[in-house]
Point group: C2
Chain length 548, copies 2
Amino acid sequence: MFEQHRGTLDEATSAIAQRGHWSAYPESPSPRVYGEGAAERGREAFESLLGKPYPLEQPGTGSWIGAERSPFGIDLGVTYPQPLVEELIAAAKGALPAWRDAGPLARALTCVEIVDRINKRSFELANAVQHTTGQAFVMAFQAGGPHAQDRALEAIAYGFAAMTASAATSRWEKPAKGGPLVMDKRFTVVPRGVALVIGCNTFPTWNAYPGLFASLVTGNPVIVKPHPGAVLPLAITVSIAREVLEQAGFDPALVSLAVEEGQGLAKTLATHPDVRVVDFTGSTEFGDWLELNARQALVHTEKAGVNTVVVDSTGSWRGMLGNLAFSLALYSGQMCTAPQNILVPAAGIETDEGHKSFDEVAAGLAAAVARLLGDDARAVELTGAIVNPGVLARLAAAPSLGEVVLESRALKHPAFPDAVVRTPVIVKVAPGEREVYGREHFGPISFVIPTGSTRESLDLLRETITARGALTASVYSTSDDVLDQAERAAVDAGVNLSCNLTGGVFVNQSAAFSDYHGSGANPAATASLTDPGYVAGRFHVVQSRRPA
Amino acid sequence: MFEQHRGTLDEATSAIAQRGHWSAYPESPSPRVYGEGAAERGREAFESLLGKPYPLEQPGTGSWIGAERSPFGIDLGVTYPQPLVEELIAAAKGALPAWRDAGPLARALTCVEIVDRINKRSFELANAVQHTTGQAFVMAFQAGGPHAQDRALEAIAYGFAAMTASAATSRWEKPAKGGPLVMDKRFTVVPRGVALVIGCNTFPTWNAYPGLFASLVTGNPVIVKPHPGAVLPLAITVSIAREVLEQAGFDPALVSLAVEEGQGLAKTLATHPDVRVVDFTGSTEFGDWLELNARQALVHTEKAGVNTVVVDSTGSWRGMLGNLAFSLALYSGQMCTAPQNILVPAAGIETDEGHKSFDEVAAGLAAAVARLLGDDARAVELTGAIVNPGVLARLAAAPSLGEVVLESRALKHPAFPDAVVRTPVIVKVAPGEREVYGREHFGPISFVIPTGSTRESLDLLRETITARGALTASVYSTSDDVLDQAERAAVDAGVNLSCNLTGGVFVNQSAAFSDYHGSGANPAATASLTDPGYVAGRFHVVQSRRPA
């Protein structure tokens, strides 16, 4: 069954080893790729879900709840089954043995079929992602659709590779007096237990799929607990998974949805003795809580950090400013990978357009952002909307943190009059103000910080990221020596580094199969998407041996 | 450097994937293998160490301590540097960057060189293992020497394979309007930090080497904290490692010794913020403590369990009894893999020598053990000596736990008059007495338990091992159906199973490169020697990317 995906699985397994460019799911929402009318049908499918109970039947259903409101100003009005925890977990446990016994290949191919069907519903999912996260449509399509699907396939490939790295059977023949000792051995992959995936508000699919599919492919039933504000994309995902599993002859209880409105369901699930794997994306506070309290489980967290840009010099003044401006503006900086701290020597920098003082760099960046977002109608397609009131509150507080270099402004969305849209604020902060820039200000908030030198900038990068973590770091320099020093600082701090991005690659984007997302080597995350450590602990191998 | 080990590394890497029989270090102590006079020179080298300070210079040395006494009745009189913790850790941290920067291949080859030199000192180590653990000489040679060295090489191979599974560099070329986006990427393996290995009393090398070499090959400096009763084998190991590292141009502080006399040094080290990996073999109590308290570290533990034998029927009555008797007698059952609970249907079993009642099975086993250990001089070469007073106390308490089937007796060692040697006790216990057989009685203590049926035996196996863990399980049956049911029970309980061992393979022995030791899937251990999960968390990958 699903043997047609064998080629995709093989290509994905090869891609994770080679780490060049590869993708299984086209990122272009063009009708030439996804077919005429696909966008319209997806939108209709999304709209048909609004204002009613979501069609999901699963064991252990209590009342129906849900209160999602689009950052673009629409109440979704969808309700979901509130789970009866013990029944949900019991159903998951009951589904485990047959899924375990199916073996790595059958599980991997079934998982690819799930992702394949998710891909076919990318437009429906794009609308659901847009109206739960505030992402503009094209980003919601790409990041919430094909890019998330690629990350899912990547996790499947890692899991499959890890489970099949050693032989499933072997004959052991040891020379001995009186003839060889001969044993036949069988090695069975067994899952850890029930897995929990705790989704986030901003990237409900992209951040949940790796954990979901890494756990599922390695044999663990998965309970998906979405952020209360971003349920619909994961509800659609869960229903697709259940549909495929059932058609393949498995118990659909292998994947289930656990919705809450903020009553602490995540804590209850994460500390349940039968929950043995937890994947979480969200706040440092709750991530730390999980690491401390979910003792019975393997816990992978992605938390907050202080993403840092070191500006030393550039061979492309305009390219640098344009690239940085895009990174700050994209989804209004509401990305765990968006730059926050921009370190520039107080004495200024050398560029292909001559020396630029610190103030010229700050002003140049402000101007580039202002230019990029000058036209409201075009700007909203880049910034999307503000995901929740927490971001707005931080944005309101930002000007008090230093000297404002660029003010945030409210944009009017031409299509959604109630959308809450804001452009980035840029604040100049002194290097001594570590309590300000040494923590994450999630949202369209960045700091330009004058330093004594690039060496001091690199020391600051090393120190702040070692202490507080980061998902990305970036450096601009025309000096190979500085680039090497930056690489060394990044290796010391355990953060992934991008050098001299002046074109169409942005520091806040990572490509599945080639770029790691997070490293696990600094406090921002214990996990990396995806490396062998991300999948290895999700299963064990149990052997039996018999005389041949 | 050490390029001569490339072939060994390649063969080991292939062996862990194939899992047939393979070994790099010959297990025979014969002069034909290790050379004429090797045994004598090893003994002399051991004796030359006695009664004086051990020649080890390392940073952070306080006073010299040590009070090892051989279970064969000799005071070793060796003292070791008591570490100043902060200085030892600071030295390890200082040594890290150059070791990290050397890269996976250089580290792996250097590690193989260390193991190679350890191999050349196998006789010296055998004496040190014998006189700290109480193992008989041949066992001390094999388990403490070549078998431990094979487990070390296996861990090196797993680490090397995991670090090199993905490309170290790649070119990423993404088609785009206006020409492809092209990035050059570099992927650097970075270690987690300082690693700690906590050794045990009974297998100081065999149980410590996997963690030591898994951490070292992945770039982590390692502090080795031996059990206070079994320091010498690890002191020799540490000095060899330091010698090789220094000769290879690295800081010898990459491997250091932390000796104590029971002042809680393990707790201090294991909870130090700079200690990021802990490997432990020992009691469930301290293993659980580490898992709960060493929160800053990745913790791998091997603890206690209730190893179980299910006897259903056999095609070799004498083979079964002889094999089981050997497993009970070997090193007086002082192995984490030795059988404890022997489940036999109360109605008896069918054999190639006709029906045997439960009492006949119990008596047959008792007779087989008594016969095997009938001659004191030969018996001590199998049983060795009792490692510590804790084992003696449990042995003394065992007869009160049920009906004694075979009494333990004291043996006189012909060569060591003060050696403490005991043969196994076998006690019949009712299946209702779970509080007796449901916990580990480490030492020469086993229980024969009459059950309602083999089905009840398998249920008991599943339940007790799920609840309390086990490192081994074993089944005897002439029925394929029963063997399949036993495999299923073992998979459910997450325990490695041996079927119908009647010859020269014993349930308490596992072969590196083929058999897993522990599974990580039941409460006896969170780790398996060695699987991908054992090495994966010890390092991360940090990437950098630049426009090509």
